[in-house]
Amino acid sequence: MNRYYFDHNATTPASPEVFQAMAPLMMTVFGNASSIHQFGQEARGELDRARRSVAAMLGAKAEEIVFTGGGTEADNMAIFGAGGHVITTTIEHPAVLQAAQQLPEVTFVKVDRQGLVDPQAVRAAIRPDTKLISVMHVNNELGVIQPLREIAEIAHDAGVLFHSDGVQAMGKLPVNAGELGVDLYSISAHKIYGPKGMGALYIRKGTELRPLLYGGPHERKMRAGTENVPGAAGFGRAAEWVIAESRAEAARLSVLRDRLEQRILTRVTGAHVNGSAAPRVGNTSNIRFDGIDSEPLLIGLDLKGFAVSSGSACSSGATEPSHVLAAIGLTREQARSSVRFSLGRSNTEAQVDALIDAVVEVVSRLRKLAPAYV
C-alpha cells in the first residue's frame, strides 16, 4: 500500500541535505564545541556556521540566536524568563498555554470565530505589572496568521516585551524578526525538514531574559548544556533551504491546498473550512464534516494510506476535542468533526487528488452508518 503524508504541521522528514550535514558530526567532527583543542574548534566552527544560517533565516544577527532542545523549550524560556504578569491567547500551542498556566499572574485573551486575536483586546489586558505579551504567529491547527506588527506596536508603546511562537510560520511565510517587531521568537527545526529535538529562541539584542536551565556558560549563559552540534548543523542546513526555496514551495503548496479545499467542498455536502475568512498560510486546511466523528475518519484514512490529524493527542494517544476549535466558538460536536490537512514537500497534485477521493469515500461510508445526519 502506498502511504501519503498530509500532516506536515506535526512534523516533516529531514531532507537528504540535512541528514548529510549532520552525519559527519556524530562520529568524525565529534568535539565539544566549548573545548579549546582542535576537536573543539572544528565543532565550534560548525555550530557558528549553523547559527549564522538560522539567524539569516530570521533576518537577525547570529548573537541573537540561542539554540534550544526544541520549540517547547524556546516557548518556555520566553514565558518564564520575563517575570511579572503575562498576556497570551486561548489558541496558543500547549508549549505556551500550559507554561502560562503555571504562572501566578496571566491573562488569556480570546479570539474571534476565525481564530484572530484582536490587538485592541491585547491592549486592554495590559496592567502596570505586565512584562510579556505572547501571541503565536501562525496557528498550528487552523493556519491562521495573527496581526503581529500591530500587537508588537502596542507592546512596545506600553514598554512590554513581545514574544511570538513562530514554529508554524517558518518556511510558510517570509519572516523578518526586525520587521515583525518581536523581542522574542521561537522556532523549531523539525517543522522545516530539519532534525527533531532542535529549536531556537531569537532574543533581540538588548532584551533581558532569565535563563531556564542553569549550568555551564553555553549559549552566552542563556542555555546551559553541551551544544547539540549535529542538531544545530541540521537546523542550519534546513534554514538555508528556507532562505533559498521556501517561497516557491509555499506558492506551490498553496495551489494544491486550494484544489483540496475546493474539490472537497464541491463533492462533500456539509463540509466547512474552519478559519477560512482569516489570512492563512497556504499549506494548512482544517475542514469540518457535519455529522462525522473525526476519529473514525482519521483512522479510516490512515488504513487507506493517508496520514492526517485531528484535535490533539492526549497522553494515552486518544484524541481530545481541540482547545483551538473550542476557542473559535465551535461546539464539542463540531470540534470533534474537524480534520486538519497540512501539505509539504512530498505532496503532489496526484496525491492530493487521491486524498480527495479517499475523503469522499470514507465520509460517505461513515454517514451511511450514522443515519442521524441528513
Binding site: 466523528d293 473514525p296 461513515l366
Partner: protein
Amino acid sequence: MSEHTIAVAMSGGVDSSVVAGMLNRAGERVIGMTMQLWNQKRLPDIASDNATGRCCSLDDVYDARHVAQLLGIPYYVVNFEDRFEAQVVKPFIDEYLAGRTPIPCTLCNNFIKFDQFLEMAEGIGAREIATGHYARIDWNGDSRRWEMRRSVDRSKDQTYFLCGLNQDQLARELGIPTAAKPDSQEICFVPNGDYAGFIDSYFKEQGIAPTETQGEIVTADGKVVGEHAGVHHFTVGQRRGLGIAAAEPLYVIATEPASKRVVIGRNDDLLRASMHVREVNWISIAAPSAPLRAEVKIRNKHAAAAATLLPAAADGTRIEVRFDEPQRAVTPGQGAVFYSGDLVLGGGWIE
C-alpha cells in the same frame, strides 16, 4: 484494506492480546484498538496510583501498544469517554439511587463494546470485531439464530455480562476461545472496588450535597433503628457497615430510594421464591409463549438455580421466574440470565 479486516478490542490484558495474536497468526488482517473510557485522574478524591480494577490507565495502553507492535498490526486508541459517562457511569449511579444494584459491565457490553466500538470498526472499514470475552458463539442453521454458550471452563465464563447482545451484534463478533486467565472481575472504572466512594466523589464533582442521600435504617415493620450516609452504600444481602448491634446477624433486605430508607432484617427475610425480570433479550431461542424450564443466574458468581419461566408480557420481554427452591438476596438491578445447560437462552434485569 480488504473487507475482511477484523478490529480487535485490546485492553492490554492477556485475553485480548491472545485474540489479536491468534487472528494475526491465522493470516487475518487485524487492527488493534483500545477504548479510552474513563479518566482515572478525574475524581481527585479517589485517584490513586496503586488501585486495582482500573481501566484505561497509561500502563494498559502501553501494554496494548506493545503487543500491537510485536504483532506488527496498526493500533489506535479511541476516545469513548463522553459516551461511557452517559451510558454506563450515569445509569450506574442512577440505579443505586433508585434502590437497585447495577452491573455496569453489561451496559458497557451493550452500549460501548458491542455498539459504539462496532460502529467505529465499521466506520474504519472493518467487517468484524473480536474481544477477549469467555463465551462461545455459533450459528444454528435450523433455528437460523446465533447461539451463545458458556465457555468450556465455566469458572471463567462471562456470558452473564453478555446477555444483552442481539443477533446483529453476535453476527459481527468472532467467538474466540482463549486459554489464558480472565481479566479482573472488578468494575473497571471504580478503584479498589469502592463504588460508594466513587459515587460520593462523583456527587462532589457535580455539586450534589451529601445530605441529599442520607436517610434512616428501619426494620421491616418500620421501626427506626439508625441512620445511614446514602442508599448507594447498601446492597441487598449486605451485612457489614450497618452499625447496629443485635442478638442475631442483620442484613439489608431492601433499599427504598423514595423515602431514602434502608430496610434490614434476618437472613430468612432475604429468601425469595419468585421474581420478575424486565427488558428480557432472547439470544439462542426466540421469545417463548409458554412456560419454560431453565437454570437462572441472579449474580455473576451465583450457581444457576432451577426455575420455571412464565411469560408476563405477550412479546416475552417480561418474565416471571419461579424458583424450585427460594433464593437468597434477589437483588433489583442485577442481571438475571437464563440457561439450558451451557446454552444461554437470554436474560434481563431483576425488577
